[in-house]
């Protein structure tokens, strides 16, 4: 048996891999790409939300939202450290993000328009993300699995915050309820695309190598199971007349627009360029700081 085959059997029976362990080149490459995309997503996820920190309508909301976004930067910190120890330094990852070479999740390519988005994102987008993240807690690559524990713990606060914002608005004025509904309607498409197209687990290298412990469709079904009832119980609607749970307890829905997903993640989303430009500008602006201070003291 080849070493690669040995390794595959090892991870498939629950074996864990530590930094510096031998691993097939393909495993390392796929791992770096996957984890890097996660880091990029945390970083890019900050941008749609940070504007609302400045506009938060109460001191408590301002604090909670600032803490949430701070967590996301903290997650990026943890994630890029893992990637660096796998062999790709952070600065290279940031280069690739800004140049468009590396990807980030679809949801962070879209605009935020109202305070309703602040609630909807923290409640539903973070929920979709947390489902994916829980499926990484048993990642065969142990350093990543370990940071996922901290990440999932912190994300649980975000969902609470999201629900609090939404419930407060739903118990408020008609206008506030309209804001929530409008946001949910607008975010539904990207949410349904978020977990990716339904390739089977066995064909998904991320599952085969046990980097993820569930397939895309499994994740989406879990999301629908958890959150559609929460949406409906508030009297909110979802813009999909086909959405229902069938007799086999499987959620049926209108097929998401996979072309849109592909188009967006390859850098053509409504806000992709603007946000990458902002990252580039901020990075250039603070180049001198990294050079003068943040590199090792002489």
């Amino acid at each position: 048996m080849s070493q690669e085959q040995d390794f595959l059997e090892y991870v498939q029976s629950g074996g864990q891999v530590e930094t510096g362990d031998w691993m097939p080149d393909e495993y390392r490459a796929k791992l770096i790409k996957f984890i890097e995309m996660h880091g990029n997503s945390e970083l890019m996820g900050v941008l749609p939300e940070r504007e609302w920190i400045l506009r938060a309508p109460t001191l408590q909301r301002k604090l909670a939202l600032t803490a949430k976004v701070q967590d996301e930067v903290g997650h990026a910190e943890l994630i890029f450290r893992v990637v660096a120890d796998l062999g790709k330094p952070r600065e290279q990852c940031l280069d690739d993000l800004i140049s468009g070479k590396a990807k980030f999740h679809n949801v962070f390519h879209y605009p935020t328009k109202t305070w309703g988005d602040v609630g909807a994102i923290a409640w539903l987008v973070d929920a979709a993300a947390i489902i994916s993240q829980k499926a990484l807690l048993k990642c065969s690559y142990a350093p990543y699995a370990r940071i996922m524990k901290k990440i999932c713990w912190e994300e649980s606060f975000h969902i609470l915050h999201g629900r609090d914002v939404v419930l407060t608005m739903m118990n408020g004025t008609d206008e506030q309820r309209d804001l929530v509904q409008e946001a949910v309607t607008r975010w539904w498409g990207p949410l349904m695309q978020f977990h990716g197209n339904p390739i089977s687990r066995e064909e998904d290298p991320m599952y085969v190598w046990r980097i993820k412990s569930q397939g895309n469709e499994e994740a989406r079904q879990q999301f629908l199971d958890g959150y559609v009832p929460q949406i409906w119980e508030l009297g909110l609607t979802v813009p999909d007349p086909k959405l229902r749970k069938n007799d086999d307890r499987v959620w049926e829905y209108t097929e998401p627009d996979w072309d849109e997903l592909k188009h967006v993640v390859t850098g053509h989303g409504p806000r992709t360029q603007e946000r990458l430009d902002l990252r580039r500008a901020a990075r250039e602006n603070t180049d001198w700081v990294r050079r003068v201070v943040l590199s090792e003291a002489a």
């Binding site: 609302w52 506009r55 309508p57 001191l59 930067v73 952070r90 408020g172 206008e175 902002l278 201070v293």
Partner: protein, 215 residues
């Protein structure tokens, strides 16, 4: 308005506006670690503002959020130094941070000695948190002090740091900063700048969109 409420509002406004300005660095700080650290500082400032507003709110029969968000621009009493938008200038941001902490230390010392036990107590709590802000500011100042853009920023801003304090406290700060004590400085708390006007617009836009709503 009582002297106590006036004084509390001045400090609360300083902390709120500085915290708001500092939170503009979220996501775009020089590196990820600093982003997280500076965000905590911004949160603490907002938290201090809230505690101060809550104390004033009881005197004035209102709430902290109403004081923070529902006043007209001309009713805010923050010092000029906190109003400036420095969100693309780390040198000025740190210069302000370092100078503000130095001024605030003088201010808090005086408040901790106040006969008003509530104010003294709150000042003591805030001061204990400020220890970390000072640590952070000093750390950066030490590494930037020979950097031209930082030196320039400090030169530009130190008079505004003095102006933040009441006249009888300025000499103390001037001595600590090793700058001339200039008692001809106006406090700058009476008039708001253009920078403040655009800040206020953005800060209150959601709140004003549905007046009286609970968020």
């Amino acid at each position: 308005m009582s002297e106590r409420a006036t004084q509390l509002l001045q400090i609360a406004d300083d902390e709120l506006i500085l915290g708001w300005r500092d939170s503009e660095w979220t996501g775009i700080a020089p590196n990820l670690e600093e982003d997280v650290a500076f965000s905590s500082i911004a949160q603490n400032e907002i938290g201090h503002a809230r505690a101060l507003y809550e104390l004033a709110a009881r005197d004035l029969g209102t709430t902290a959020d109403e004081l923070a968000f529902d006043r007209a621009p001309h009713e805010y009493r923050c010092a000029g130094i906190v109003e400036h938008r420095f969100a693309d200038d780390w040198a000025r941001t740190i210069a302000r941070h370092w100078l503000y902490e130095a001024a605030d230390a003088v201010r808090l010392e005086a408040l901790k000695a106040s006969d008003d036990t509530e104010v003294a107590g709150l000042a003591a709590k805030i001061d204990r948190e400020e220890v970390y802000h000072r640590m952070h500011a000093d750390m950066w100042e030490e590494r930037l002090r020979d950097e031209p853009r930082f030196k320039e920023a400090v030169e530009e801003l130190w008079p505004q740091a003095l102006a933040l304090l009441p006249e009888d406290k300025r000499a103390t700060l001037a001595q600590r900063l090793n700058v001339p004590s200039n008692s001809l400085l106006l406090s700058g708390r009476e008039e708001r700048s253009d920078d403040f006007a655009s800040l206020w617009e953005e800060m209150t836009i959601v709140r004003r969109s549905i007046p009286g709503a609970v968020w």
